[in-house]
Symmetry: C2
Subunit: 163 residues, 2 copies
């Protein structure tokens, strides 16, 4: 927690583009694009009394209602134990419910409640609306081609699964 004096603007500031790292680093571009693109919508999520991970769970369940925990965690881009905690809370709030899987006693399957589905439906509509605006503002841009590119990347990433 030391504090030294000296050093001002002088030393700081831009390098020539060919010396920068992050701006041309794929994983950074992905993370940055995701964060910056999502910022606005994330605040809409909060305005609806949800946190981002909860929204991801709702959205995931809209596509795969009754998903098992592990699968849902994968879809919702979070760790299993975190999902368990979040399900606890969403269950208490009456948004989702757990049911035993008939075939495999280890599994629980997560379902939207009526209330949950109602909220999810509303949010999906907002999401689509927001996305439309985003995509429209992208028209006539390179970024326009982004969806197929991301889809291809994801497909690729899901194949030769990690080390």
């Amino acid at each position: 927690m030391q504090e030294e004096p000296l050093q001002g603007k002088a030393l700081v500031g831009g390098k020539p583009d060919d010396e920068t790292f992050v701006d041309s680093y794929l994983l950074y571009l992905l993370a940055a694009a995701s964060r910056k693109a999502s910022e606005q919508f994330h605040s809409r999520i909060r305005q609806n009394g949800l946190r981002v991970p909860e929204w991801r769970v709702l959205a995931g369940l809209m596509d795969k209602d009754g998903a098992m925990v592990t699968r849902l965690a994968d879809i919702a881009l979070m760790e299993q134990s975190r999902l368990s905690h979040i399900i606890d809370q969403m269950d208490k709030r009456g948004l989702v419910t757990r049911k035993f899987d008939t075939d495999d006693g280890r599994r629980k399957r997560i379902f939207l409640t009526d209330h949950g589905r109602q909220l999810a439906t509303k949010m999906v509509a907002e999401a689509r609306e927001h996305e439309a605006g985003l995509l429209q503002s992208l028209a006539d841009t390179d970024a326009e081609r982004i969806k197929p590119v991301l889809t291809a990347l994801l497909k690729h990433l899901n194949n030769d699964k990690p080390t």
Copy 2:
């Protein structure tokens, strides 16, 4: 925390593709691509005794050593207060150091220490290496075109700054 019986595979599983939401939702694709693409490298980061946000700080400083806190938080994709906490820890570990800005007494500027720069340099090398592998495995794929597309998207996102 209720647990009901019944319900198995029967109700679960895939909808036709045109009914799914997340798989065609831009913000989801971005978040998923980012997470899945980064997974492997993130474990490398931890193997080097860093957490992901710390790596982002190091990487950011490689490009903009002496950045002010707010700017660095933006680069490192995190909130200002979080960065402050992280700087505390990195400072204690001797990776970075705070210096007063001569021109504006409110500002602090963050610099890599020698040790920090050494580690950052090593990690950047690893990152580039890892990225090369990723890009290579992408060759002859749509995803190949991803960088320019993301760059365009980011540029766009940074212009008409949020509402």
